[in-house]
Symmetry: C2
DNA sequence: AGCCCCCTCGCGCTTTTTGGGGAGTGGAAA
DNA sequence: TTTCCACTCCCCAAAAAGCGCGAGGGGGCT
């Protein structure tokens, strides 16, 4: 295990690729460069959709999905509440399902040492970049200390690339909301009732209603809650 | 403007500090090291609370907050929908309020060139790390290309530090939603009416109501729309 | 000048949502 | 074992949201 990596070159190659196969190729190169067992980029969508890319065996990946391990995996759970990269040893493996999961993972060739970086994008996107290896604690500590910064950057670039593959971002361009509509949506998102919003904006409740309906129409929303949700996830309003 | 920075040393110092003043000191050092006009770390809370740290003048900061510029600022709005660092020139400054904001900003000593990095943490936390300067486009392009990676890393470390200071993170760790509550919130955010949600989840509408109320309670929300908005901005659900 | 959009306001009506109760199961943790 | 919590079901009255019909002034763009 040695960190003999030309970061620039790898990031450039990642940047240049336009296919999933290309990304997979970069991952393999990265693994070889770092001299570790596995590198995985794991995209987690809360709708239950997952998209993975990495050097784990196909069996393990399929097994992971089939078992819904994502709801058990301490790496995912732990990283989801953290910001900084985390060593697997510092996670909570005490639960019974967690230990069963770990045993199962090792049986499928997952190494005993791991280092995962949580990454978050717009609209609640969440992903994990993981480096996995088999070695003793001291060696692993040395490795992760040496390379953590490079790995953070690599994780960042991977996610940036992954977001490019996100399908619907470009097609769905909605008209921008008017200032009053933004006010209305914002206050509604803050929990105000229509009466309170109208009062806050110093307009009649009917006028407010017009704004809400107009915003709903522009956003293609079925109801107020939907409109607020869309405005939020499109970044049109900030609460 | 020169990039004569000892990244390791600065990050170490940041890591070692335990006070806001210390962070402020690191920012000033960073600014001097990079030789730019301003460096700002700007935290935007899901409750609308802001917390800033940087070299902008106090007047500008207070003015920014007083004017609720956060809802106008194209940097905030633009970064909120993006993942990768963004040059201010690539943002949409066409709106009238945006231009007024820009003029106001420049009057308060904000430079014409900027480079902002969006950062996201757990529970929908969002922050911006910004480098600001006054120079021509070519020089700025050279600078940002040279330093973008270092800046990403620095932004990452700043946010990590900022999360340590977050007071209520530990106290007000809003209880996570139960699976059914997440289902309910998600479907509501997708625009379904209660009847449709109940139907989709194959439960009675009354039962659904219990979930919604429970979720509302857990999220400290005044009404359903508020609950959905909070769940969204905390990253508990994704639409 | 005409068009389109933004802002503002009115009344009445139907449907949906909400808030106040209460009640029972099963599983997991203390 | 008891005590939580998640999950399921029910009634009723009040509040809120949605939908229909209107109306007019102002600003900007072509």
């Amino acid at each position: 295990m040695q960190a003999n990596v030309n970061l620039d070159q790898i990031l450039e190659e990642l940047d240049a690729t336009g296919t999933l196969e290309g990304i997979q190729g970069v991952i393999v190169k990265l693994r070889n460069a770092f001299g570790v067992d596995h590198i995985i980029y794991h995209w987690v969508d809360s709708a239950g959709e997952q998209y993975g890319c990495g050097t784990y065996s196909d069996e393990w990946r399929d097994h992971y999905i089939a078992q819904s391990y994502i709801r058990v995996d301490p790496v995912v759970i732990g990283c989801f509440q953290r910001f900084h990269p985390v060593d697997w040893k510092r996670l909570d493996w005490s639960g019974k399902p967690a230990r069963a999961f770990l045993a199962d993972a090792m049986k499928h060739g997952v190494g005993n040492q791991g280092f995962s970086i949580p990454i978050r994008g717009p609209n609640g996107q969440f992903a994990l970049f993981t480096v996995n290896h088999t070695c003793d604690d001291a060696e692993w500590a040395r490795f992760s200390e040496l390379n953590s910064r490079e790995l953070i950057l690599i994780a960042h670039y991977f996610n940036r690339k992954a977001l490019e593959f996100e399908p619907e971002r470009k097609g769905e361009q909605s008209r921008a909301l008017s200032p009053r509509e933004i006010d209305a949506m914002t206050l509604l998102a803050m929990g105000y009732s229509r009466a309170q919003v109208a009062d806050t904006l110093a307009i009649s409740e009917h006028t407010l209603r017009v704004y809400i309906e107009s915003a709903r129409f522009k956003l293609g929303a079925h109801n107020t809650t939907h409109a607020v949700a869309r405005a939020l996830s499109r970044g049109l309003i900030i609460v």
